[in-house]
Structure formats: structure tokens, C-alpha cells
Symmetry: C2
Amino acid sequence: MKLEIYTKNEHQAVQNEIIGKIRDLINYKNLEPGDKLPSERMLSEKFGVSRSNVREAIRKLEFYGLVKSMPQSGTFIEDIGVIAMNGIIEDILRLEDPDFKSLVETRILLELKTVRLAALRRTDEDLMQMKEALDAYNTKVLNGEDAIQEDLLFHLAIAKASGNSTMNTLMLMITPEIIMNFEKFHVCDKNQAMLGIEEHTEIFKAIENQDPQKAKQKMKKHFKSLYQYCYNT
Amino acid sequence: MKLEIYTKNEHQAVQNEIIGKIRDLINYKNLEPGDKLPSERMLSEKFGVSRSNVREAIRKLEFYGLVKSMPQSGTFIEDIGVIAMNGIIEDILRLEDPDFKSLVETRILLELKTVRLAALRRTDEDLMQMKEALDAYNTKVLNGEDAIQEDLLFHLAIAKASGNSTMNTLMLMITPEIIMNFEKFHVCDKNQAMLGIEEHTEIFKAIENQDPQKAKQKMKKHFKSLYQYCYNT
DNA sequence: CAAACCAATTTGGTTAACCAATTTTAAATC
DNA sequence: GATTTAAAATTGGTTAACCAAATTGGTTTG
């Protein structure tokens, strides 16, 4: 149960195979929402795999909200219907690993929204935490140190202030990968970092002043100079 | 390691506690990117919990891209730096469960983007699969049957055609919860479903004609009538 | 005949033992 | 003394045994 940005391992293949078999079983036995899946032991025997493999597959299905395990009771099919169940499992099995381009594309989309929501909904505590992240970034940059981490933490603080827990989760999921790629390719040197101070401050002030339009505009500008510089397009 | 939309269980609390302890350990021992975490056995003993609990906690950290387990070797800290590690773990531990409103808000944001990208990037095969989903929806509606599942599968087909694997993943993650809430509150009755046929067709044609602007406009219209109707605002 | 009770079974969760690959250590060799 | 080699210890992964809660079926009881 994961974004699976990272590894394309053997383990993964086995798990997907089991998920496919569970789907087949649901169809073959005409299991409907609310019905109970066979026990983990039975499934592991039927599929000829270990019970822990079955458990992990079920965990993944649980992550996607397709089933729900109840202790000492069983695993039950969630109320989304057979059609959707099949379609979604099909999609999950065919999902390809996110590439960096799709990550950046998604990050920009999410952040242009979270910054707007943050301007509308930020509490005083949100503001304080953002200021803290901002100061940490500035200090590092002015000391001539690398500040990619502090940079992203400022952006995460904005996501938190957006008051949208789903977007916050999604941002958390893609941020480590973003950081790793940034550090790998050595994007964003000193000049860019100095510019970042200015742009971050502009964004912060727009959020502080609860001006969603300006906040979005400044974030857009931030991304534009950032990615224009990084990929010199 | 999950969106945790569903359960707020005891299990979850234990897991978060372990994650917090691992973070403390990283800080206390000054572990840096590339360093190896103590073995699962050692951690389970040190924390006084079962090894499987430790494994699941590590899995969650692995999901968020913070560590990486290597078979017969150890679990290693990913290259994102101590600062980011602490900030992100902190955020993960404080994450609140997504509410329905934040899900819908995120869905709209994602879909207004995926529909645009789909119009730009869709292959002929994408088009075929969308047509298939569209037909399935139409058939059900014209038969007077409930078609929420087919509805969402059409939208997922668009996400797939967007060519952005990250957004596709995110859409898959939130869709089951959307379906469940829709069915629970009985949103979208017959009239709405009939209107859906027309609107879906408009969206499909815009994607077919590779007109991103129109595609987005039609999707916006679709959401507007959908949510205006459902929540009679 | 229905309701209450109880023991046997089934369940997901937990623990402990085991495995094979890897890493480390030290002995052997030149 | 440096290099090679082999054996011992360590590791995440796997398997099997065990646990307590929950379900189930039959029996008893009012």
C-alpha cells in the first residue's frame, strides 16, 4: 500500500499477483459489498503463498479503501460495488511508477491550490509555523548553506495551513522524492536560493494578508523562476 | 502507510508511537542520510514492541520515501537530510484523517487538471477505454439503474489518459471514498444521471478533439451542476 | 417456543523460530 | 604485510505456532 515511487521489486510483483487472484475470487464467487472474504489462512493455502504475503495484499486493498479488516472477525468488502471494485483493482495493478516530471507537475498543481486555501483559512498558529520555517530557510541561505530541506518544509507548512488534509497528505507523499531529485541534480544554487528568500517572503505576506489571489500569483512566479532556472528552458 | 481515510484504530496509535521513537533515535544517534537504522530485532527489543509492529512502522516510513529496506542488509535512511526527515515525520504524526469536504475539494482540483492533460495527451487506446466506460455508464442510466460506479470509472479513465501517473495514483486513492459517500448520502438521482450522460459526452468529445480548454470548461460545468444539485447550495 | 447461555470454532493479530542472502571477521596464503 | 578465502554473525523476509476476541451452533432455561 504505497505510492510505490521507489522500488520495483520482486515482492511487489508477488503482491500484485495475489491482489489479482483476490479480484478473480470476488468475481468467481460473486462476492458483494459487505460480504466476507475467505480467511487469510484459506487464501494463503488456496493461492499457494505465505500468509504474510496475503496479509500485505489485503493491507494494500485496505489502503485503497476496497476492503476492511476486522480483528477476530474477518476481512469485509467495502461498499463500493463490484463494477468499481474491478475497475479500480485493474487500475491499481496496471499503475506505473510515478516519474519525476509527473511529480513536479502534480506538485505545482497542488501548491497553487494550497497557497490559495492557506490565504483564506490560515490560523494565527499556521502563520507562526510558516514564519518559523521561513526564518530557518533564510538563516541557512544567508549563511551560504544548502537549504533545500528548509525550502520544502516551508512549502509543507503552507500545505498544512490550507486546512485540506487530503492535499496535505498528498504533498507529504511527494515531497521526499522532490527533495531527493533536487539534491541529485544539484538544482537551485546560491543565486536561486537568494531569490527564494524574496519570493517566499512575498508568498508569506500574501497569506498573512489573506489575499488568495496574490498568494497564488506569487507562488506561480516562484515556480516559474525556479523551474525555468533549474531546467533552463 | 496509507491515506488512513478509514479507521482510527489502536493499531495506528502504536505505529505512530514507534515512528516517533525511530525519529528520536535518528536524532539522538545523529543518523544521517545513507546511514543504517538498527536492525528490526534490536528496535523491537529497545522499544518493547513486537518485531512485526516495527516492520509495519518501517513500511510506513518507506511509503513516504524516508527510508529504504534492503533484504539481508538493513534499513537505510534516504537522502533527504535530517531537517526534512524531522519535519516530515512530525507532519505525518500530526496528520488528521481526511474529511469528505477535503476529498471533494481535492477531487475537483485533480480532475480539472487531468481532463486538460487528457485532452493534450490521450492516445487512441485511452480514447477507446474512455468510450467503453462512457457506454457502460449510459447503458445503466438508460436502464434506470444506479450508475455511480460507472460514473467514477469514466473519470478514472480520464485520469489514466492524462499520462500523469502521480495524479492517476492520487485519483485512485480518493475514488473509493468518494463512491462510498455518494452512495451513503444517495446523491445524484435519475435526473442528475441523465444530465450526466450529456455532460460526460461533451467532456469525451472535447478530449477526442484534443481541445484542453473546452475539456476543462465542460468538466467544470459537470462538477458545478453535480455539486450544486447534491448539496442544493 | 423464544431467549439466554456456553462451549467450540474461526478469526485477525502477535510471537518466536527458521531461512537464505549479505556482511563482517579472522584465518590462511603468497 | 597485503590479499584472498572461508567461516561466523547479522540482516530482512518467511513460516509456523500461539493468543485473545468474536462468531457460531447447540443446549438449556424460563
